[in-house]
């Protein structure tokens, strides 16, 4: 009857094993897809330089191996990737791995803050709305959530910049830190936090409504379940019911969504990072697409796949922790 120790390691290995073909599929697909786009990175570079003569352009193309056939390029890329070599970005003149490393922090920070904010506020508001279902409070919360969801993030971002940076002067318009501040320690943390307030708000307000709605529905559903009635028959009060009996079960579907949303949020961060000039992966991905910076984009997609695999794994762990019925197999 006792719970066997979850064989986490073998589970992790198996997940990884399953992920490999998916990742290979993604990489090849992305590569070929981007190759379909008109123009290549040399076009983008030359456009950026303000022009160059034809001989120079040919030389660059040969230099970057872009004169080879697509399949040769793909083969070379995949062979390198197998050795975890992401190649060189001709646009950034740096190894892709370094670019990614530079950007990863910001993106993870932004996502962690926005997702956790969206998640926390979403489930709290969702639970409140569900407990007062169909009341004024519920309508207010639900409608507000929907309005945030319906507001395009760029619109919201611009409005916030106008209000908080330009009119009130409370928050910086963008960037991840005060460049000339040279803060260290807690001052640095506080500075970064100040810079993250608006982007986090812009990003999390969209996703907030997902969690809110799901949590509301989930709580309503769980509250109807038999064991809640059992607990009531035992003499448990509403608060106790919520905390001990409803919350944890209601959280399960919400947690699943959390895992699924990760790559969506990365996509959503493209616009927000662009407006707030946050040096993250979203903005980099956008730049890589319009610069045809194949290696960088591929690197981002690869990294993203890994993160998604890891996040899904962690979600599973969390799920297994929350749900005693689940045993990792």
């Amino acid at each position: 009857m006792s719970l066997p120790i979850p064989p986490i390691l073998s589970y992790a290995l198996r997940r990884l094993f399953q992920a490999v073909p998916v990742i290979i599929l993604i990489m090849i697909g992305t590569f070929l897809l981007l190759k379909l786009a008109p123009g290549d990175t040399v076009d983008a570079l030359v456009g950026d330089m303000g022009g160059a003569d034809a001989a120079f352009i040919e030389r660059l193309r040969a230099e970057y191996g872009l004169d080879q056939s697509v399949w040769v390029q793909l083969w070379r890329y995949m062979a390198k990737l197998a050795m975890f070599d992401f190649g060189w970005s001709f646009v950034y003149e740096q190894p892709v791995s370094r670019i990614l490393l530079d950007r990863l922090g910001t993106t993870l920070l932004l996502m962690a803050t926005s997702l956790s904010m969206a998640f926390t506020i979403g489930i709290v508001l969702g639970a409140i709305a569900a407990r007062r279902a169909y009341s004024l409070t519920d309508n207010l919360i639900s409608t507000l959530g929907l309005i945030f969801y319906a507001t395009p993030s760029f619109f919201l971002s611009l409005m916030m910049i106008l209000l908080f940076s330009v009119k009130l002067g409370w928050l910086p318009v963008g960037g991840i830190k005060t460049i000339t501040g040279f803060y260290t320690g807690w001052d640095h943390v506080a500075d970064v936090a100040r810079h993250l307030i608006m982007p986090t708000a812009a990003l999390s307000l969209i996703y907030l409504s997902f969690y809110l709605r799901l949590m509301r529905a989930s709580v309503l559903e769980v509250a109807e379940l038999d064991y809640v009635r059992t607990a009531r028959a035992k003499g448990a009060g509403e608060t106790r019911l919520m905390v001990h009996h409803i919350m944890r079960n209601a959280l399960l579907p919400v947690v699943t969504l959390l895992g699924l949303q990760f790559s969506t949020v990365l996509g959503g961060s493209v616009v927000v990072e662009t407006i707030f000039t946050l040096p993250g992966l979203g903005q980099l991905a956008y730049q890589s697409v319009i610069q045809r910076d194949m290696n960088t984009l591929m690197g981002i997609i690869f990294l993203c796949s890994i993160i998604v695999v890891v996040v899904n794994f962690l979600t599973d762990l969390l799920y297994a922790r929350l749900d005693s019925r689940i045993q990792l197999k």
Partner: protein, 531 residues
């Protein structure tokens, strides 16, 4: 010429003139040392080696770190790392005296070896635009560490050489590049130069920082402690950053035209076109002459008549522009003439010309349809493209806009020639020789952007272009360019519709700003901050 421009633009937006006029008074103030200037840049530069990449964006940053041999001031060319220049009689040897006592930021001495290495390895082979200029460069000799002799196989006019140096003449330290893969050398993104500021760090997607070079060869300079270039791609956000005091200057129209107009009435800012005297651009409409309809000059003329240029200037450029007069802009000095055919806005005339050309209105309400590629270079090229479509529909020409990102656009227009019309934004390249050449000369290799890839061919103009390039008599040369300009306006291979200056928005706390003709690219050794 600077004056005419200023007056003109002052007329367009009254306050700018005031801003400029106020400058001399402020110059009397006592210089304050120290401080950090924060400069806005729209796009990230990534490569910071001006010996590998010739573009204003690169100069904007690296110009403070890596100095050119020769720079340009309002009084002409001035020595920087080269102190004297001379040419041999046959024009095949150019000898430069190099400044002594100059050190690279890493402490090594600057010497002729560096110039020779950079010239052969980079200027000649790897630098865009320069490879054509230096095609005939055979070697660079160093008779002593402070003398460099450029040997050419064909005569190289000294003026051309000198004129090219501010942009295409940045030496880099040989000892950091020799024996490495130059294109992947780490110093390309962490430049080491001789300039007033030393490179500190480049945070991708955020900023580049440079700090005061204590060993700068100009004693007592620079004034600033630090310069930070901040990348803000979103122009509205950049406008907000300027207002919030988070950046001090935004050059090359880094904020939206609406904000330019708005900030020009704001006491805190100088808004003006000073410092871009060599830099103007044209908003163009380009025709694909392979399309038989557009091959008809009367159709092109009718299209020009259908464009309300004044309206476009007023609305899209907020008055900060003037109608174009062909490939040579009004800042082209003696080579410019305004004695050319013009195409006033006249819808009825345009319609009549199209009728006469054999393109009557058909049942669907249009004469014919054009597939138009608007350049994706931001707000005004986009609006200009949309205005083109709007205006064409008035004269019953249907226009389908084909929107693409930059590589898609360049590819569609310059390589695949998959378009009927396109619009763009083209910078005038300091000398009409270059600009007329790339725009009007036929027979250019396929695929290079911003050149005549439109299938336009006119042998007389080809001959004129070639003749003007080799003409040594200044007056004759000017006359030839006038003729090219007149013919270009007559034949309209391209509509050079609007001539734009570049505009800077500068916080008035910055002093000594915009005091040279290529100020944003210059070294800013005398810039200071009143804070």
């Amino acid at each position: 010429m600077t004056k005419t421009l200023s007056i003109l633009y002052a007329a367009a937006a009254g306050c700018i003139g005031l801003g400029l006029a106020a400058n001399p008074l402020l110059a009397q103030e006592e210089v304050k040392k120290g401080g950090t200037a924060i400069i806005h840049m729209v796009s990230e530069q990534r490569i910071l080696n001006p010996a590998l990449r010739a573009s204003t964006g690169v100069y904007e940053i690296s110009g403070k770190i890596i100095e050119p041999l020769i720079d340009k001031s309002y009084d002409g060319y001035v020595p920087v790392l080269a102190t004297e220049w001379a040419t041999s009689e046959d024009g095949k040897k150019i000898t430069l005296k190099l400044r002594e006592g100059v050190k690279w930021h890493d402490g090594e001495a600057f010497a002729c070896d560096d110039v020779a290495f950079t010239a052969i390895e980079m200027w000649k082979g790897l630098l865009n635009y320069s490879s054509a200029l230096q095609a005939n460069l055979e070697s660079v000799d160093c008779p002593d560490p402070h003398t460099a002799v450029f040997n050419y196989s064909e005569p190289m006019p000294l003026e051309l050489f000198v004129a090219a140096m501010p942009d295409l003449g940045h030496p880099v330290p040989k000892h950091l590049y020799e024996g490495t893969d130059i294109l992947k050398n780490e110093y390309n993104t962490a430049p080491v130069g001789t300039g007033p500021f030393k490179f500190v760090e480049y945070e991708r997607g955020q900023y580049v920082m440079a700090e005061r070079n204590e060993d700068y060869w100009r004693d007592g300079y620079p004034y600033l402690d630090r310069i930070v270039w901040r990348f803000i791609a979103d122009k509205s956000a950049a406008g907000a950053a300027l207002e919030a005091g988070e950046v001090h200057e935004s050059g090359f129209i880094g904020v939206s035209m609406a904000d330019v107009e708005r900030l020009s009435t704001d006491d805190r800012f100088d808004v003006g076109t000073k410092g871009y005297e060599n830099n103007v651009a044209h908003s163009t409409v380009e025709f694909n002459h392979r399309n038989p309809i557009l091959a008809d000059v009367n159709v092109r003329r009718a299209i020009h008549h259908g464009l309300d240029i004044d309206f476009a200037i007023k609305t899209i450029m907020r008055g900060f522009a003037k109608p174009g007069r062909g490939p040579v802009p009004s800042v082209g000095g003696a080579n410019y003439t305004d004695d050319v055919r013009t195409y006033p806005y006249d819808v009825e005339l345009a319609k009549k010309m199209l009728d006469d050309a054999g393109y009557p209105v058909k049942d669907d309400g249009f004469r014919f349809k054009l597939r138009h590629r608007p350049a994706p270079w931001g707000e005004y090229t986009q609006l200009w493209g949309e205005y083109f479509a709007q205006a064409m529909r008035v004269i019953e020409i249907d226009v389908e806009l084909l929107n693409n990102d930059a590589p898609g656009f360049l590819n569609g227009v310059y390589r695949d020639h998959d378009f009927d019309t396109a619009n763009g934004w083209h910078q005038f390249r300091s000398d009409p020789a270059v600009s007329t050449m790339v725009w009007l000369r036929s027979g250019l290799p396929e695929g290079s952007p911003w050149t005549n890839q439109f299938g336009w061919k006119n042998e007389e103009i080809d001959e004129l272009i070639d003749a003007a390039a080799s003409e040594l008599d200044v007056e004759k040369r000017a006359e030839m360019y006038h003729e090219i300009q007149r013919r270009a306006m007559e034949e309209l291979p391209v509509i050079f519709a609007i001539e734009h200056p570049f505009i800077s928005v500068t916080n008035k706390k910055l002093k000594n700003h915009h005091n040279t003709p290529r100020w944003n690219s210059s070294s800013w050794y005398d810039l200071w901050l009143d804070e």
